[in-house]
């Protein structure tokens, strides 16, 4: 029997799969449903200080390789979101609260309320590639990553996981900056900046023109990012990007991830993806002679 339980900075998970931020996680009902379907934890939609409608449609383009999105951080704001979070917690779900803001103080404020309401950890969305003033600039500056992480650390007692953007030359240096800011773990990666055009109309499809690519196409980018980060930092890494099977999850684990997040695979596989990927991880680990997920973390490093 392979032991699938895992622990990240003290957050205990029944298995290493989590719901990625932005998927079925803006309402209590959906968070509960995903947790019941077998996710080890569920990460909320990124929540900010005030309600936000996001961009107008089209916000999603379905591609053969995955999804392109520019939803623009729609969310009800932390005050209204508290009721949704409490509904999920009442059903005993392990919930990680994802937060954003326009400056360090806003991040800290939202994170504080999220933690107070009962989130098991805080994920900092430092990396949304398409919301003006809410990510791109932060994701491009190591100093900002360090400063924002420090502000959130000072505001909460639960673990803090900054989520990094792959749209930089050297993602590992940003992980180091987050570690200097006191991060308890790193989440990598967010979506990769991209665009789709309708030739018939001579125009980009997304209302925001560009957006973020997710799904199988970005998995090799994510695996490489996790591999690099694992070499540089001493805190755990959570891998995300194109994971759609136990096999794909183990690529991330062996690159150095202690847990993985799944998003886009939900489109084709539905909620069953969590149980399927978990079972596949167990049987694959058994086949190749591992007794636990923990033992496999970073196994691909020489």
């Amino acid at each position: 029997m392979v032991d699938l339980r895992t622990e990240i900075a003290g957050v205990r998970l029944r298995n290493p799969t989590m719901l990625a931020s932005g998927f079925l996680d803006e309402t209590g009902g959906s968070l509960v449903r995903v947790y019941r379907a077998g996710a080890g934890a569920v990460v909320t939609k990124s929540i900010g200080p005030e309600p936000r409608e996001g961009y107008s449609n089209p916000t999603i383009v379905e591609l053969d390789a995955g999804l392109l999105n520019a939803v623009g951080l729609p969310n009800p704001g932390i005050a209204a979101f508290e009721a949704e979070l409490l509904e999920a917690l009442a059903a005993k779900a392990v919930v990680i609260g994802s937060v954003y803001g326009k400056d360090a103080a806003e991040y800290a404020k939202v994170a504080g309320r999220m933690a107070e309401a009962g989130a098991a950890a805080i994920e900092m969305n430092l990396s949304c590639p398409h919301a003006k003033g809410l990510g791109t600039e932060i994701a491009q500056s190591e100093d900002a990553v360090q400063e924002f992480t420090r502000a959130v650390k000072d505001a909460v007692d639960v673990p803090v996981f900054p989520k990094l953007s792959p749209n930089v030359a050297d993602i590992a240096s940003f992980a180091l900056a987050a570690e200097r800011g006191g991060a308890d773990g790193i989440v990598a990666i967010n979506t990769v900046k991209a665009m789709a055009i309708a030739p018939e109309l001579r125009m980009p499809i997304l209302a925001n023109r560009f957006g973020g690519l997710s799904g199988p196409a970005i998995r090799p980018i994510g695996v490489r990012a996790v591999y690099d980060i694992y070499e540089k930092v001493d805190i755990p890494v959570i891998g995300v990007g194109g994971i759609d099977s136990g096999h794909a999850a183990l690529e991330y684990v062996m690159a150095g991830a202690s847990a993985v997040q799944i998003g886009t695979a939900l489109v084709d596989q539905g909620l069953a993806v969590f149980e399927r990927a978990t079972k596949e991880m167990a049987s694959l680990l058994e086949d190749i002679g591992f007794h636990s997920v923990a033992e496999a973390v970073g196994a691909a490093h020489g």
Partner: protein
Amino acid sequence: MARMQVVPLLEIVTESHHTMTYRFRADFGGTAGQFVMVWIPGQDELPMALSYLGPVKGITVHAYGDATRALQSFRPGDRVGVRGPYGNTFKLEGEKVLAVAGGTGMASIIAAVEAFAQQGAAVTTAVGARTAEELLFVDRASASGEVHVSTDDGTRGFHGFVPSLAERLLEKHKFDQVLTCGPEKMMKLVVDAAMKRGLKVQASLERFMKCGIGICDACAFDDRLVCVDGPVFTGAQLAASKDFGAYRRTKDGRRVEL
């Protein structure tokens, strides 16, 4: 994944001063009750029921806000993007069917009326609108069975709201299945009237949608999603619902009273 297809509009039919049908060819299927996401370039992308199935599909659009008003200026040959079909479908079970439609709700129900008739069911349709000019697809429904009409202002047929007309039909005749689509408060009355009599009922709901494919959580309805678990819900599901007839979600995800 369902790829967006950018297609020319083949035919545009004016149904009333504010409602038009747009026909286009797309190489995907589609069954009664399903919807497509329609990109009105430069404007918005909106969910629209398929009012015509088959190779030359159709959507019937009420010019409501900026995007749907802009669509009214489109001419044959102009292009829109379509992706889908999405959502579940009306189950074609029942021998004696009552379809109750309010306003543009008829766009989603007409394909089901025709599909039921094609498989030999007796279909009665109650079509409601604010005024005679706005009644939709009365001819198509007549070709599939009996039709009763109501208008809020009494300009044609029963003078009053369509749930009252439905109530009368349910009193007089025996049905084994009720379908409904229209404003949610209207559907609530129809669903209650059918449930009270122990009849099976299917209602097609509307919620704000972004993705249409079950990932963004915009269309959350209780712990379900209108885009993939619906848009058609059964009486049993609706009876157990906290949201039906009571709450919707705003574009930013806040829960508000209907």
